[in-house]
């Protein structure tokens, strides 16, 4: 048990920086977060779960997917911890794990996003959105609305830009992950 707990903490600290182990639970991160009111656990609570080695609870919650990556927690933390990096580390561990298929739609979006970068080198928003909607049709109404707004203004790129250095980009993604 302790071994699993330590392994998890070590993995988070490898990905997000070992300073997270020095968290004093002051809550500055939660108080700064634009989506705090929707989160359970809070960002502070999430870090506590990591410190306590509660792997499952830390990896499977809505909080991870409500982070907007705004970095306000990160510029404010009095301990120099990067709470957003802890969130990213947990997402990464969750996405790599065996339970990845049971993660919410947000994880599918991230997976498709990275796959596009690997395949083309750039993001083609139209095909990304299309692929995402196949996996998550609930987003259809919103996407149609945005699409109807953008299309007449010529702001939907219809072509996929494929860069020359696709192999290099793919190598970066595969080897660094």
């Amino acid at each position: 048990m302790t071994a699993i707990m330590d392994e998890f903490k070590a993995e988070v600290s490898r990905l997000a920086g070992e300073e997270f182990l020095t968290c004093i639970q002051c809550g500055t991160c939660s108080a700064s977060c634009p989506t705090a009111s929707l989160m359970d656990p809070s960002i502070r609570g999430l870090i506590k779960l990591c410190l306590e080695g509660k792997r499952e609870q830390a990896l499977h919650n809505e909080t991870l997917w409500l982070c907007t990556s705004c970095l306000l927690c990160t510029v404010r933390c009095p301990r120099g911890i990067r709470p957003k990096a802890v969130v990213s580390a947990l997402k990464e561990i969750a996405e790599r794990g065996e339970a990845a298929k049971s993660l919410p739609a947000d994880a599918a979006y991230e997976r498709l996003f990275l796959k596009q970068i690997g395949d083309y080198g750039r993001i083609a928003e139209l095909s990304l959105t299309g692929e995402f909607l196949l996996a998550y049709p609930q987003g259809m109404v919103q996407s149609m609305q945005v699409g109807l707004e953008l299309f007449p203004r010529g702001k939907i790129g219809l072509e996929i830009d494929r860069i020359e250095g696709r192999d290099e980009v793919k190598r970066l993604i595969e080897e660094l992950r």
Binding site: P34, L71, S88, K91, E125, Q145, E149, E168
Partner: protein, 282 residues
Amino acid sequence: MKLAYYPGCVSASTGKEMDASTRAVCAALSIELEELDDWNCCGATHVSNELVATGLSARNMAMTDLPIMTACSICYSNLRSAAERLREAETLDKVNALLDKKYSGATIRHALDVILEALAEKDERIVLPLRDLKVAPYYGCLLTRPRGVDSPEFPTLIEKLIRRLSAQPVDFPFKTLCCGGPIFMPRQEAAEEIAFKILSEAKRAGAEVIVTVCPLCHLMLDAKQKAIEQRRGEQIGIPVLYVTQLAGIALGLGPEELGLFMNSVSPLPLVEKAYERMTETE
């Protein structure tokens, strides 16, 4: 002055007017832009593995010896974060082992600060001073984060540009509140809630226009404004311009060059008003 230019993926889609106005304004200010050859996506806010994100940015930064300019705050923040991480020898070695062209340091600039630097006080190239135009400076999150550019809590760079164009910045407490954009795809309601706060606060502050430095902020506040109005049952109707578009208007560039027809809430009445005000004072 010559800079390398990193347009970012949105330059081919939702951010076309950001790209067009950036190129037009730089040309007007004699800033030569050389687009990075074969650039790749920076990962935006959707690549959770930091090392991968660092590698993606390193490839872009290794392509040139010139300072690199981008108009997108997300790309900007990612390039800066990567440059910071690449100061660690271990990270640098891992990344360079995989790159065709090796990374050896980079200077990253945002179009906002490049334009601000190029424009003198009472610059004679400002042919349409935006006198009395009330502008809400909206920074969003990533222009000033991570630390190292202006204050991440109370930045003033956009206000400086607004004043230099003879317009008036309004006091806007939500100027650094995140727009919710990065999670809007799967989390529509949460994201729209935040965007609505920003829009209504800008209006309450008396702004005639909001300026942004990020294509995702722009999408949330401009392209989604009508949908947000419908869902909230409240009319807002405030144009949202990129800082490059606002600067371009003051420099007398045309609506086509600045992509003003691509904005959802039309900024054209504002431009007419600015011309009217100018002729009145003459």
